[in-house]
């Protein structure tokens, strides 16, 4: 029978086509860039399961660790090791296991810069059984480069809906444990002005370089 063969050929074409198009659909589409915590929203939905937003998300920051030196800051994410390392020149500031994109929603490789930092945001996306609706995603750092514009919604952020750091788990973003995300958020550029919940990178206050490999 040639029909099953034909079907599998079409399936391959569909997968190839999806592969070509996958970066068109990023981690999440942003609605507001305010970055404020929504204290009323304490429940999210992730792949068909309800998750409660833990209190650690709402914790007010106490210890802001700014850069210790004037050396250039950079963030390296290794997709194969599932690790994130933050460097200040040659000094390691932070190393943490992360969860990057699953096979069908890969985290893009390359060199990026943070273009906006948000204290918290709502993320909604996915489809079918992969649908997710997560309020108060903490410590979000969206990045972009020439090939992948910021509105696609790829970023680094804390994750409260799973604890599998070290294995791919996300829809394209880099998921961090919340304490590590908090540390990175206050360390990375652009520097957050006192009392603000979001900041965009500017020429005077540029975003930290991110290398994903």
């Amino acid at each position: 029978m040639f029909l099953p063969l034909l079907f599998f050929a079409f399936a391959l074409v569909a997968l190839w086509q999806n592969n070509e198009l996958k970066y068109q659909y990023g981690c999440c589409k942003e609605i507001s860039y305010e970055g404020r915590l929504d204290l009323a929203q304490k429940e999210g939905l992730f792949e068909g399961k309800k998750v409660t937003v833990p209190d650690i998300v709402f914790k007010e920051e106490k210890n802001r660790v700014l850069g210790a030196s004037n050396a250039e800051k950079r963030i390296e994410v290794s997709l194969s090791e599932q690790k994130l390392r933050a460097w200040e020149g040659d000094t390691l500031f932070l190393e943490t296991p992360v969860s990057t994109g699953l096979r069908f929603w890969p985290t893009p490789k390359g060199e990026f810069r943070i273009w906006i930092k948000l204290r918290a945001t709502k993320m909604e996306g996915g489809f079918g059984r992969y649908y997710y609706n997560l309020p108060n995603v903490p410590y979000v750092m969206y990045f972009e480069n020439d090939q992948i514009p910021g509105w696609k919604g790829y970023g680094i952020h804390g994750a409260y809906w799973h604890n599998d750091f070290g294995t791919p788990r996300s829809h394209g973003c880099v998921n961090l444990p919340i304490p590590a995300a908090e540390k990175l958020y206050y360390w990375a550029n652009p520097i957050l002005p006192e009392g603000k919940t979001s900041v965009r990178a500017t020429a005077e206050n540029p975003g930290t370089r991110i290398i994903i490999y």
Binding site: M1, L3, P4, L6, F7, F10, A11, V13, A14, L15, Q17, N18, L21, K22, Q24, Y25, K29, L45, E47, G48, F104, F127, G128, R129, Y130, Y131
Partner: protein, 163 residues
């Protein structure tokens, strides 16, 4: 978790093709059954072919995470409901072609008419932005395969009345 939202405001010809035509095809089947053009013992075969095509398509949908076109271009689909499962293959086209193939095995003329309607369903699904052309091709192949498989396996080509 299936999220489906009903949209009644934007009904159009494309919506008719994409969302309603398939149900009219089932209605038509019962109409021709009532007129005696589809023999009683074959009605079950026709319905099961269509159902099996649909079940197979849902199975492959779960296996192959493919994004639907309206999610990529960010424009709302024109279908009655918004499907948020995976794209490949098209379940509507699979069941429509399963139906058409099964009818074709019983009644050639009516079958060709049903193939025409099934193609319209497929075209409607593309125009309403819920499927890529390759999803339609995959769905059509799956539908034809399901009906032929059922005929060969369970009826061995004997149980159907041909004209």
């Amino acid at each position: 978790m299936e999220i489906i939202s009903l949209r009644l405001s934007s009904l159009s010809f494309i919506t008719f093709l994409a969302s309603f035509l398939i149900w009219l095809m089932y209605l038509g089947l019962f109409f021709w059954f009532y007129l005696g053009r589809i023999p009683k013992r074959n009605l079950f075969f026709v319905l099961v072919s269509s159902l099996m095509a649909w079940v197979l398509s849902q199975m492959f949908k779960d296996l192959l995470p493919t994004v639907r076109p309206f999610l990529l271009n960010g424009v709302n689909p024109l279908t009655l409901t918004t499907p948020l499962d995976n794209s490949f293959p098209s379940g509507h086209t699979a069941s429509a072609f399963g139906l058409a193939t099964a009818i074709f095995l019983i009644d050639k003329k009516l079958g060709i008419f049903y193939f025409f309607l099934a193609s319209l369903v497929g075209i409607g699904r593309i125009l309403s932005r819920v499927h890529f052309p390759v999803d339609i091709l995959g769905g059509a192949t799956l539908g034809i395969f399901a009906a032929l498989l059922l005929e060969v396996l369970f009826l061995k080509g004997k149980g159907l009345k041909r004209k």
